[in-house]
Symmetry: C2
Subunit: 333 residues, 2 copies
DNA sequence: CTGAAAGCGCTAACAG
DNA sequence: CTGTTAGCGCTTTCAG
C-alpha cells in the first residue's frame, strides 16, 4: 500500500542536493542559500512531495500530536472543552487524537497506554475521577499530562479548572438569601472529587454560613443524565426542597422539565440553577440560570499550558483557576 | 526526551531470542513455540516494554489511526456521528485524529493534507460541501475516504447517509395533509448540496404532489444557528407560513422559541419539525417532532465501511442509505 | 520455529 | 552553506 511514493531522497536527487539540505528547507532551517532553497522548493512542488510525518516522528522523537481523553464528546460540556483544545492545538501545529473513555477506569488506563505507545507529545485528560491506578500511570510517564475541567484531589498534574467550591457556595448563598431554606444539591456521583469534595464543600459552607443545618435528604446523587433529572420531581418535592443546584446542564434541564410537567412552576415555586453554562441553558424554557464557566477557554488554556510543558518552557502556574461567574436567567427569581 | 527507553532490542537480548521473535509474539504471530513465547512475554512484562507505534508505522506502513474531519464537534449532530465513529474505530483497534474544519474550504484541504502526511490509514469526512478542489484532493490519494452524514453530488467517494430528499418530502407532505398551505423551508446554506439539492428537492416534490405552487418567499436560507432561528418569527409570520421544516435542531429550537416568545403558539398556530433528532429535541418545550436519523449509526457504519476499505475487503455498497423515520412529538399537531 | 539483515523516510550530529 | 553518516524502533523477507 504505497500511500506515498515520493520521498526526501527523490527530491534530493532531482534537485541535485543532499537529503540533508532538503530536510533543512522543509524544516525552515535558515542555513540554506536562497538559490538552493528555491531549487529545492521547486522540485518539491513539481514532485508533489509531502514529508512523511511518521518517519519524521521516529527520527525526531516528536509527533506533533497530542492525546485527548474525554468521557464523551457527545456531552456539550466536554465537546466545548475539546473545541478549545483543538483550536489551540491547531494554532501550534499539533493534531489531536481524541478518545472517548465513558469514564470507565479500565478504558482510561488502556487508552492512555495506547496514546503513549503512539508517542504523543502530550496528553490532555478530562475525566471525573483520577483513580489510584490512573494516577500511577500518570506518574510513570515523562509525557506531560494536563487535566482540563477535571480535578485530582492530590493535585499532581497541572490542571485548569474553576473554583468549583466557591462557585457552588456562591450560588447556594444566593438561593438562601432569597429565602430558600431547603436547597437541594443534585449532582453526579459523589465519589468524583469534583462533586463529593469540592462542590459539596461549597454547598455545605453556604449552609453553615447561613446557620442552616445540613440535611442528607437534600443530597441527590445521580448519573448526571437528562432522563434522570426528569424523574426527580417527586423526590425533590417530598424532601421539601424549594430550589436545586445541579452539577450538569442536561441534568438541570431534566429537573426543570420534570418540575414543569408536574405543574410545579419554575422559578415561582421552585428555583433551579445549573453549573456548566453550555448553550443548552439558553435553549430550554425557562432559560436556566447558571454558574458560568469559560468552557472553551478551559480547553484552550489547558492546551496552551501543554505546549509549554512539551517545550520545557517554564510555567508559573501549574494549577490554573479561571474565573467563573453567575448568570441570572429565568430559572431563578 | 526519552519518552520510552526500552526497545524491542532490549527484550530480545534479555529473553535471549532475536528481535524478530519478539516482534512475532508482540504481533500474535502463531509461529512461535509456546515456551519461547512465554519467555518473551515474561520479559516484556518485567521490562514493561511497550511497542513504539511510530516505528511500527514506519516499518509496516500502517498507523492504525484514521483521520476524522468535522465542521464542529460542538454541534450535537456531528458529535453524535463522531461518537459512533470512535466506538467502532476502537473496536477495530484504530484511533481517531479529530479535526474541526469550521466548514472552511481552505482548512479542509489543509487538514486533509496534514492527515495524509501523518499517514493515516483512512479518513472520514463530514462536511457540508465538497468543493472541486477538495474533490481533486480526494482523488489524488489512495488513502480511502468515506463521507459520513455528508453528501457529494458527484458521488465519488463511498458515503453513508439517509435519503434526505425523501425524508423532507414525507414530512412536508404530512404538514400539507394536516392543512398547512404555506410551509416554510428553513435551511442552512443552499449552496450545500444536502440543502440546495436534496432537501429542497424533497420539499418541492411534496408541494408539487399536493398541487401547491412553489413560493420563493417561503424559503429561508440561514446559517443553521440557534440564534438565527430565534430571530425568524417576524419574517415567517409575514410570509404567511403556518409551519416550518428546519434542517437543523438548534435552528429549529430557535424558531420555536422565537415563535413562542412572540406569543405564537406551537403547534397550535405554528407547527415546526426538525431534521436531526438529536437529544435536544426532547429537552425543549414543546418537544420537537423530527425526522429521525440514526446519527450514531451513520458514524458507526461509515467507520465500519472504512475498515473494509482499509483492508481491501470487498464492499457491496459504496453508497449506503440508512433508514430514517418521522418522530411525532409535540411541535406538530 | 527462529535468526540475520535490509530497510521504512527522515533528522541530527559532525565534518568540511 | 552543504554533504555524509548514523541511527530512530520496528516489520519483513529470506534462509535455515
Amino acid at each position: 500500500m504505497d500511500k506515498q511514493t515520493v520521498t526526501i531522497y527523490d527530491v534530493a536527487r532531482e534537485a541535485e542536493v543532499s537529503m540533508a539540505t532538503v530536510s533543512r528547507v522543509v524544516n525552515g532551517n535558515t542555513n540554506v542559500k536562497p538559490a538552493t532553497r528555491k531549487k529545492v522548493l521547486d522540485v518539491i512542488d513539481k514532485l508533489d512531495y509531502r514529508p512523511n510525518a511518521v518517519a519524521r516522528g521516529l527520527a525526531s522523537k516528536k509527533t506533533t500530536t497530542v492525546g485527548v481523553i474525554v468521557p464523551d464528546v457527545t456531552n456539550m460540556y466536554f465537546s466545548s472543552l475539546a473545541r478549545g483544545i483543538d483550536d489551540i492545538a491547531a494554532m501550534y501545529k499539533y493534531n489531536i487524537i481524541l478518545t472517548n473513555s465513558d469514564s470507565d477506569d479500565e478504558k482510561e488506563v488502556q487508552v492512555l497506554n495506547t496514546l503513549l505507545s503512539k508517542q504523543v507529545d502530550g496528553i490532555i485528560f478530562m475525566g471525573n475521577e483520577i483513580t489510584d491506578q490512573l494516577r500511577e500511570e500518570f506518574k510513570r510517564t515523562k509525557t506531560p499530562i494536563v487535566l482540563a475541567g477535571s480535578v485530582d484531589d492530590q493535585n499532581i498534574n497541572p490542571s485548569v479548572n474553576i473554583n468549583y467550591a466557591a462557585a457552588v457556595q456562591e450560588e447556594v448563598k444566593n438561593l438562601i438569601d432569597r429565602g430558600n431554606k431547603r436547597v437541594a444539591f443534585v449532582c453526579g456521583p459523589l465519589k468524583y472529587a469534583i462533586n463529593g469534595k469540592y462542590r459539596l464543600k461549597g454547598y455545605k459552607q453556604a449552609l453553615k454560613d447561613a446557620g442552616i443545618p445540613f440535611d442528607e435528604k437534600l443530597i441527590f446523587e445521580t448519573d448526571s443524565k437528562y432522563k434522570t433529572g426528569t424523574l426527580l420531581q417527586p423526590a425533590l418535592s417530598s424532601a421539601g426542597a424549594t430550589a436545586a443546584v445541579a452539577t450538569d446542564d442536561e441534568l438541570a434541564a431534566g429537573i426543570m422539565n420534570g418540575m414543569t410537567d408536574a405543574g410545579v412552576l419554575v422559578p415561582k415555586n421552585f428555583e433551579v440553577i445549573t453549573s456548566n453554562d453550555t448553550k443548552l441553558t439558553e435553549m430550554v424554557r425557562p432559560k436556566m440560570s447558571s454558574i458560568t464557566q469559560p468552557l472553551y477557554d478551559i480547553g484552550a488554556v489547558a492546551m496552551r499550558l501543554l505546549t509549554k510543558l512539551m517545550n520545557d518552557e517554564p510555567v508559573n502556574e501549574k494549577e490554573v483557576l479561571l474565573p467563573y461567574g453567575l448568570m441570572k436567567r429565568e430559572s431563578t427569581k
